[in-house]
């Protein structure tokens, strides 16, 4: 079931995630992909190293006179942080995604969109949105273009579109210019995690009015 990951995150996304400037919804896709992808994990470490260099390069700003004492006092009130012994997820969803769903795939509260397609919007800050999509094997995703940036990551099954084949772990980064028609691979129902900073423009299936209501 595990083919090597072929479609990775862009430098810009990894850098923004390392900087901590991405909307929460995008951060969730990045963290989920990095959980499965050693290559992007290594690249992320590089961008964090660059963050360290930026911090080191910073011109010092004066602190209040009692800052060190105040900090030592703060420390005296704090316990040593326990070492986390989190287990790596054995389910379909990596750990960061399970945190948002409240469990693995069986915990998802799907809402039907028609033709067997289902979605579940996950709670994040409102500067962008993220949802799980369930597309039956061989089915076509509604044809849509984009207003902003959209990240789609495959968790189960695979889909094909104008840019190639996307399987578990693969991420597709789509922007305004892109119109694509993803079709779920025939082998298995496809589950994707999709984040966007703008409402999707569906050209068919779901009327424009419903978009606002469904928050897609």
């Amino acid at each position: 079931m595990s083919e090597p990951i072929k479609h990775h995150l862009t430098d810009q996304l990894l850098m923004s995630y390392a900087a901590g400037t991405l909307p929460e919804a995008f951060s969730l896709v990045v963290a989920t992909h990095v959980s499965l992808c050693d290559e992007c994990r290594a690249r992320l470490a590089e961008f964090e190293a660059l963050g360290g260099a930026v911090l080191e390069d910073e011109a010092a700003v004066e602190l209040s006179s009692g800052a060190l004492d105040a900090t030592l006092k703060l420390i005296s009130q704090k316990a040593k942080d326990p070492i986390k012994t989190e287990k790596v997820s054995r389910g379909i969803f990596p750990k960061p995604l399970q945190d948002y769903v409240g469990g693995d795939v069986e915990a998802v509260r799907w809402k039907r969109l028609g033709n067997g397609v289902k979605q579940a919007i996950l709670p994040t800050s409102r500067d962008a949105s993220v949802r799980l999509l369930y597309i039956p094997a061989g089915s076509e995703m509604p044809d849509h273009g984009h207003n902003g940036t959209e990240l789609t990551m495959v968790l189960q099954g695979a889909y094909l579109d104008e840019d190639g084949r996307f399987a578990r772990g693969d991420v597709e980064v789509a922007n305004e210019e892109m119109e694509h028609t993803p079709v779920a691979d025939i082998g298995e129902d496809c589950i994707c995690l999709a984040a966007t900073d703008a409402p999707l423009k569906f050209n068919s299936l779901i009327p424009r009015v419903a978009q606002k209501f469904l928050r897609i």
């Binding site: 900087a19 963290a31 360290g52 420390i75 960061p96």
Partner: protein
Amino acid sequence: MLTSASTRNQKRAPLGKVSYDVVSVLTTKSDSPARKATDVNVQDRAAKGAWVAELAAIRDRQDKAAFAALFEHFAPRVKAFLMKSGANAALAEETTQEVMATLWTKAHMFDPGRASVATWIFTIARNRSIDAIRKQRRPEPEDLAWGPEAEPDQEESMALQQESKKLAQALSELPEKQRTLIERAYYGDLSHSEIAAETGLPLGTIKSRIRLALDRLRHAMK
């Protein structure tokens, strides 16, 4: 790749992930308190100014002088970073103190084979800033399933500290315009399009300048 050491060290557990007792049972090397004391000296000599020894002194001896030295160097930089990231002076000061206190309470989790001290502090400051200033959650990748080689390796950690220094040097030697763009991307006070509006540069130019800066940094790290 900017730092090959960070790639090589991917499968390394943070210090303290496995307790020293367990490590000394699992490995043939002695990990007695005596060895820990010499570690500090070795690291001090090898990575002078990289603050690894000070952090180890906090971890091992709750050393307040070592903390004061780290505080003096990093707290004013963390505060500057937070202010440029959009916090006012009061919030930046308060958050800086929390960041520096976290440094103490998490000292046992720092792994010199995975990150430089500056990088580690940067990630703590970033996470506090997302939480306290942007009021958002931060989804983090799950940790790797650490293999049996969980003991921090002196040589690898020295290599990583050296490469971090090289990276800082390379950043400071970038042409002014490129360095500024990289820094602003990290402050996050401006999006790429906002940088474009402010500098009058078209968005494509911004992206290609950042890419160019990254290429230069990668080249400098070869």
